[in-house]
């Protein structure tokens, strides 16, 4: 019967411990506690885009006509002032409407924004009668590509300037839409500004001026 010497016993113990250590490490490494973080993030954030409706390509708007209130104007391109407020046509050109060019053109998917004065120099402006519009009224926009688009009013809103609904006006939409903006409400003589804005929300109904 073989007998273990002291050295042999130590070897056996050392070998056993080594085997145990290696086996333990392998067993630990084979346990995957959580999936990789990249897998968790996959698929999130891609469903926030609104459903899109096919719109037209980009083409600068050239003219606006609102038969119901007898308003007709060419459209100038408007940007931002230094204080990041939206530009408006010069007050001396109160019958001139303008289009905000850092947004979609009318007919593209999104909110195209057209601005005009309610008055200027004590006389009525191009959008003096804008508040008279009602749902169903038509707005015609002629673009540089020769197309004339018909938008239909969905909603008329008068809102205090302090509560201007930036998200509603400038927020993404799933279809081609149009916003007409002018001033409204009472005039604050000390601030030399109207207290409200009148906003028309319209959607693209089709092509042609009918």
């Amino acid at each position: 019967m073989p007998t273990f010497g002291r050295l042999g016993g130590r070897r056996v113990v050392a070998a056993a411990l080594l085997v145990a250590l290696v086996a333990g490490c392998e067993a630990t490494a084979s346990v995957d506690p959580t999936p990789p973080t990249g897998t968790v993030r996959t698929g999130t954030g891609s469903t926030t885009a609104p459903p899109t409706t096919t719109g037209l390509g980009r083409s600068t708007p050239a003219r606006i006509e609102i038969p119901r209130i007898g308003a007709t104007s060419t459209l100038t391109s408007l940007g931002l002032n230094q204080d990041q407020t939206v530009e408006v046509p010069p007050i001396e050109q109160r019958m001139q409407a303008g289009w905000y060019s850092n947004g979609p053109t009318p007919g593209e998917v999104g909110p195209a924004v057209v601005l005009g004065h309610v008055d200027g120099q004590g006389k009525p402006g191009i959008f003096f009668r804008l508040r008279e519009l009602r749902p169903g009224d038509k707005i015609l926009i002629t673009r540089d590509d020769g197309r004339t688009l018909t938008f239909v009013v969905e909603r008329v809103q008068q809102v205090a300037k302090a509560e201007f609904p930036s998200d509603e006006v400038y927020g993404d939409t799933s279809r081609p839409e149009l916003r007409l903006i002018t001033c409204g409400g009472s005039f604050d003589h000390s601030a030399k500004s109207y207290r409200d804005n009148t906003i028309i929300y319209a959607v693209l109904a089709g092509e042609g001026g009918s």
């Binding site: 250590l21 333990g24 067993a27 490494a29 990249g38 931002l80 002018t182």
Partner: protein, 106 residues
């Protein structure tokens, strides 16, 4: 003596067996010690690039409300004074005329 060595070896082997068995037995329960194991470098590099937020339709959103009105026609203070003075003069003249007529008739 041999008995002691044999017992020592046996204890060592038993301990080794316990060490081996413990992680296997606890693999399903995901012991906390395994959480500290970092994922393999390959899984880190395979992370999908963060998706850029969709570009807004209005690229630069204006601040505040548009100032699209110059104000209604204003009557200046001078005009108010002129109109008021003219009115007062007319009333005064009318009153004087009435007084004269009354005196004449008397």
């Amino acid at each position: 003596m041999n008995l002691a060595r044999t017992l020592g070896t046996g204890v060592a082997l038993a301990a080794a067996a316990l060490v081996i068995a413990t992680p296997m037995a606890s693999a399903d329960s995901q012991p906390s010690s395994t959480v500290t194991v970092s994922p393999a470098p390959s899984t880190v590099t395979s992370k999908p690039a963060p998706t850029a937020p969709p570009k807004p339709q209005v690229v630069e959103r204006p601040k505040g409300a548009p100032e699209t009105g110059g104000g209604p026609a204003e009557t200046s203070d001078l005009a108010v004074w002129v109109i008021g003075a003219a009115g007062a003069a007319t009333v005064g003249a009318g009153g004087l005329l009435a007084l004269r007529r009354r005196r004449v008739t008397n």
